[in-house]
Symmetry: D2
Subunit: 355 residues, 4 copies
C-alpha cells in the first residue's frame, strides 16, 4: 500500500506540491466504457477554486484539468486515468518568513521531525491545494456511480448553525457558503467578513448526503463503508472529527430513541428513521448515507503567534500569504469528491465479491 | 487488500464468528525478537471479558488465548503470529427469533442484502465478540511500541459526562465503568442499572490518550495517522463518531483559540496547548495523541421493535439473548487495542521510509 | 499489505511453523453462497501428504483440515474462512545438529541474517509443510472457479523428461510421481529410489494446465495474470524458474514460428497454436493457461556438506531428519493450488472492474 | 491494491498510452533527503531509446523526463515523485489496419474481450513504450540503494548464446546489443539484420546481476525477494520465462551438485558457489542476485499472419508500423530498472520490520 494511494479497487494516487509546477492524480481501476472528458471534471474544480469571493483565499488559479491518459474516443479504456492541473499563481515570496519558523497548527514542525526538512513554500504537500487533485479524481469516480446523487453543504460556521427546518438544497449554489439556509447565509456574511478583516479564522461543519446507494455496499470489519468514509474525511486537511448519522448525538440516546424501525415496502424495507446514517454494521442499508465533517479554523492567521524556529529558539510568526478565513467552505467540494471516491470503490468491491 | 485485514506494515487479519468454535487473529509484520507469551495478552482480554459485572453482558466466556505460531523460545520470530480464542458459552437457542426477522440497528438486513443470507446466530461476524480477536492482536502490537503508554476510559454515558477537573486515572480500574471520575462512576451505577432493568440501552463516549509518541509518525495524505485512527475506531462495532483533539468543538473555535503555540524546550518544542490532539497534517507532533469515540446504544433491547422479516412482511422483534445495556463500556479495551495497532503500524511505516 | 498475505481480491494469509502445534490459512474475499465443507478440501491435502510412498518424506501426518469460520449451513458466508491443520508427527530431535550450523541451500543463514535468530526446528516457516496451508486454501479457491479445470503433473525428474506424444492424464493418479507418461513413471522408480538410497536428491519440472479460463482475466501491467502466476509459483519452496507457454524456448523462436494465428469460430476465435500459454499482454486469451515450474533438488541430503556455524567457524552438516529425495513430486498439488488461487483472484478482480 | 501500482513500500504507479500525449510514473515511499534530478534519470532513458541503431525500432523519441513533484532544492522530500515523458513521434496512420483486425500474439484480442474495446493505436497501453515510465522510476529507485550495483546484458539472441568464458562487462556499451561477448556481438549483427530485412523477429534472453545486496532482504512466503522479482520481470512486455540462479538447469542437478557450500570469512560466510542466484528461502544471502529473463520474438512482423477481425471473420494482418526485430535488446534497461525497483522496495521493507 502506498502512502499516497487511497482506495481498494477504484484507487487514486495524487502528487504535486502547492508551489510546484503542477498537481495531479492517477485514477486506477475505473470501469471501462464510461463517457469521460475534461468537461465532466472541470465544474467540480470550478466550484472549489480559490479567489471566487472575498470570503475565500485571494489566490487566482484557473485549475484547468487535462486528461493525459486512460481515455479513447471519449470513453474510459479501463487503464489508468492521469489528470493534471497546472499551478499558475504562486507567490513564493509570501512564505519567506515561514522557511525558518514553524507555523503552529500546521504540519511544519511535524514534517521537519519526520523528514529532516520540508518544502516550506505554501505548505508544500500539506497545503490544501492538493485537494484540487482529489476533486478531479472525484469527478471520475462519479461516472462509475451514476445511480448515486451526492450533495454537501456547510451546516455550521463558527458555532452558528443552520436551521434544519429551513433547508432548501437549491439555495446551496446561491450564496458563497454552500449554505442551504438563506437566513444563515446572511448571518455568515458578516461573521466571516469580520473574521477576515480581523485576520482571524473560523471553523465549520460540512454535512454530506448520498442518496441512491443500494443496500449491501461495504464489507465486514475492515472494509466497512463507514470506516473508509471516516478515513477519507479525516484525511482532508484541517478535519478533526467525522460522524455518521447521529454521530456523537447517538451517544446520548437510548436504544429506543436511536432505533431505525423497518416496515414492509414495495422496493425493500421502508425505514421510519435514519439515526444510523445509512450504514449498519459497516454495510449500506439503502437509506441515505449521511456524514458530517468538522473543520478546525485555519492556523494561518495574520496576528502573530508564539512559536519556535528550526534551531529551537523562540520566535514569532505572522503569515502574510493569502489565506482562508474559513477553510471549511471550500471543503465542501472535497467532501463530495471523497464521498464519490469511497462509494465508487465500494460499488466495485461489492461487485468483486458478490457479483 | 483484504476485507478483513487492517494495517499497512504491522497487519492483522481476524476471523471467527460469534457462535462458531473459535475466533482468532493473525498478526503479521511484527518485528522479531520481542518477548511475547500468552500472559502478555491475556490481561487485556480479561479486562474485556463479558460477564464481569451485572452491568455488562451475562455471557460467560473465559476468552483464553493461545499463541499457535510466530514465537520461538519466548520471542517473536518475525513470522506471522496466530492467536486463537475458543468460544465456550454459546446459547444458540436465544437467537431463534432472530433467524427470521431483522433486528433494527443491527447489520442483519444489510448482511442479507449483501450476501443473500447470513449466519444469524448472535450476529455472526457483526457481533462484538469479534473484538476479542482485536484485543488479542493489540496485545502483540503493544510489544512493538514499548515507548508508548495508552489509556482509555469512558468519559460519558447516556449524556452524563465526567468532570474533567476531577480526573484520576488510577480510578479507572476501581469501578465497572473504566471511569476516571469517582463521582460519575457512582451516578452511572444507577443510570446503567435502570437501563438494564428496563430492557433499554445507553450510548457512551470513550476517550483514549497515547503518550510517548514521538513526532514524525504518520505520512502525508493517505497514510495520515489521524485518518488511520479514524478508520480503526469507526470500524469498531457500534461506533458512529470519531474525533481527534478538540474534534467537533474545534469547529466552534477561532484560529487564535485553537492554536497550539510552541516554546523552546530541552528535548524539542514545548507546546502550550494541545487542541490538535497530538496530530498535525496527519503526522504526530510529539504531544499526547487524543482520540474520542462515540458509541451508539445497543440495538438489542428487550422491548419489541417494529421490523420486517425475510419475506418482507411486517414483524415484531424482541431479542431475548444476553445483551449489553451499554456496549461502550467494554469498548474501552478495544479502543486501546486499536490505538496500539495503529501506532505500532505507523512506527514501522515511518522506519520503512525514513530509517 | 502483508508479508504473508497473497492475492488481491480473493486473499489468503497463512501461518504456522513446521514444528509448531498447527498450521493454517485464512481465506478472505471468497464469494458467499458457495457449498464448502472439509470434504471439499481434504482430498487435495491427501494427495500432498508426506509418507505416502517410499519416494517421499517418511513423516506421517494425517493433515486433517478443520474449517473454523466462514461457513454456515454448508455454504460460505462471505466472511473469512479459517482453515486449520494440526501437526502431529514432529521429531524435533532430528534437528538438533541443525540448531548450530547452517544447512547450505536452505534459508537458515538468510533467516538468521534477517531476524537475528530463527526457529530451526524442521526449517521453521521455510519448511515445505507450510504448503499444506496453501493446498487447503486452494481447495476453497476452486469453489469460486467451477468453470475451470486444473491439472498438474511432473514432466521431468533429474533431467529425464516425459514423452509428450505419450501423455495420458488419467495415468497421473496411477503412479507415485503424478506422471502422465507410464514409460517415464517406470524409469523414475529406479531413478528416485537410487537417489534416496544414496542420500542424494533430484530436481524436477512440474507443468500445470488450466482449461476453461475465459478470455479477459488479468489486468494491464501490474496485475498481469502471468506476473501473478510467476510470483505464486516462484514463491513455492525450492522453485527456481517459472515459464508461461513456450517459456525459454520462445526465446529461440522467430516471430513466425512463435505466432498463435486465429481463425473464426463459433464461440470466439479458434487459435491454431498456443505458444503464448493462454496469456497475451497479461490477459487470458481463452486458451489453456500453461505454466511450467522448475524445482531444484532438496538441500537436505544425507551426505555431509561443508558449511559454517553461528559463530562463523567451519563446520560440517549432515541432516538426519526425514527428507524428500525429490520435492518436486509433492509440489504438484501445491502448484495446482496456487493456479487455483491466482485464477480465482483474477476472476473476482475482472468482475470488480468490468462487471 | 491497484492494477497499475507495483511494489510494497517503495511503490510506483505508471500511466500513459503509447500514442497519448505523455507517459509517466508516480514513485511513492522514496526515502527523503536523496539527491535527485532529471540528470540522474535521463541516462537510463537514453539507453532505452528507440531509433538508436538500425537494429531497433525506427521511431524517434527524445524521451526527455521531467520531475514534476517530490523534489526540493535537489533532494527528495519523501512525498510522491511524479515523472513525465512526453510522446513526440506518433505515427498513428501506421496502425489503421490494426484497428479492425487483431494482431496475433499481441494483447489486442484479449483487451477487447476484457474491456469491450481498446485503444488500438500502437498497442495502447500494452505497448512497450510504457516501459519508458518504468525505466524512469528505476532511476529513482537506484538512489535508494547506492550500495547495490546492477548490470544486465543480453546472453542469447535467437538461440545463439554468448560464451560465458569470454564475458567482459565493459563490452556491454560498445555494441548495439548490450552484449558482453564481442564475438557474439559480431555474429548478432548479421543475425538481427537478416531478421529485420526479412520482416521477421527474434527472441532473446537477458541476464541481470545485482551485487552488493546484503543478506536479509526479502520476507518469508509472500514477499519473497525471488517471487517479487519473478512478478516484476514476467510483467515486462514479451517476457515468457524467469529464472533465479540456475533456474531450469537446477531441475537437472542433484543435491550435491546444486549445493552452495559455505566457508568462514571475514565479513560473513564465503560461499563457494552460487547456484541459488543469491536468494534462499526468498531471502537474499549476500551473494550476487542473478536473474534471467526470456523474451519471445515480437509479434509485429511484416509478413501477413492469419487472424480474425472484430466481427469474427477471417482476416489477414500485416503491420506496417515501426517495429523491433528483437525487443529483448531494449529490454535490458527495463530489466535493470525492475531489479532496482524490487531491491529498493525490499530494502525499505526489511527496515520496516527489522530496523
Amino acid at each position: 500500500m502506498s502512502w499516497n494511494t487511497f482506495g481498494r479497487v477504484l484507487r487514486f494516487t495524487t502528487w504535486g506540491e502547492s508551489h510546484g509546477p503542477a498537481l495531479g492524480a492517477v485514477v486506477d481501476g475505473c470501469p471501462p466504457g464510461l463517457m469521460l472528458s475534461e468537461s465532466d471534471i472541470q465544474p467540480y474544480l470550478d466550484a472549489r477554486r480559490p479567489g471566487q469571493s472575498k470570503f475565500t483565499t485571494q489566490r487566482q488559479e484557473p485549475d484547468a484539468v487535462r486528461i493525459l491518459s486512460g481515455i479513447f474516443e471519449g470513453r474510459t479504456t479501463g487503464t489508468p486515468i492521469s489528470l493534471m492541473i497546472e499551478n499558475v499563481d504562486q507567490r513564493s515570496k509570501d512564505y519567506s518568513e515561514v522557511a525558518k519558523a514553524y507555523r503552529p497548527g500546521h504540519a511544519d514542525y511535524a514534517y521537519d521531525a519526520k523528514y529532516g526538512f520540508r518544502d516550506y513554500r505554501g505548505g508544500g504537500r500539506s497545503s490544501a491545494r492538493e485537494t484540487a487533485a482529489r476533486v478531479a479524481a472525484g469527478g471520475v469516480a462519479r461516472k462509475a456511480i451514476p445511480e448515486v446523487s451526492i450533495v454537501a453543504y456547510v451546516s455550521e460556521i463558527g458555532g452558528d448553525a443552520i436551521d434544519r427546518s429551513n433547508i432548501d438544497l437549491s439555495e446551496i449554489d446561491r450564496n458563497p457558503f454552500f449554505c442551504p439556509d438563506p437566513a444563515a447565509a446572511t448571518r455568515w456574511e458578516s461573521l466571516v467578513d469580520d473574521a477576515r478583516k480581523a485576520g482571524s479564522s473560523l471553523g465549520a461543519v460540512v454535512e454530506c448526503i448520498a442518496t441512491g446507494v443500494p443496500a449491501g455496499w461495504g464489507a465486514p470489519i475492515y472494509a466497512k463503508l463507514d470506516a473508509d468514509l471516516a478515513a477519507a474525511m479525516m484525511g482532508i486537511n484541517a478535519v478533526k472529527g467525522v460522524e455518521i448519522g447521529d454521530g456523537f448525538e447517538a451517544a446520548k440516546l437510548t436504544g429506543e430513541t436511536n432505533a431505525d424501525p423497518m416496515r414492509p415496502g414495495e422496493d425493500g424495507p421502508q425505514f421510519t428513521a435514519n439515526h444510523a446514517g445509512g450504514i449498519a454494521g459497516g454495510i449500506s442499508t439503502g437509506q441515505p448515507v449521511v456524514v458530517r465533517v468538522a473543520f478546525k479554523p485555519t492556523s494561518s492567521i495574520l496576528t502573530p503567534v508564539e512559536t519556535i524556529d528550526r534551531d529551537g529558539n523562540a520566535a514569532e510568526i505572522r503569515t502574510k500569504g493569502r489565506h482562508d478565513p474559513c477553510v471549511g467552505i471550500r471543503g465542501v467540494p472535497v467532501v463530495e469528491a471523497m464521498m464519490a471516491l469511497v462509494l465508487a470503490d465500494h460499488k466495485l468491491l461489492h461487485r468483486a465479491q458478490c457479483g
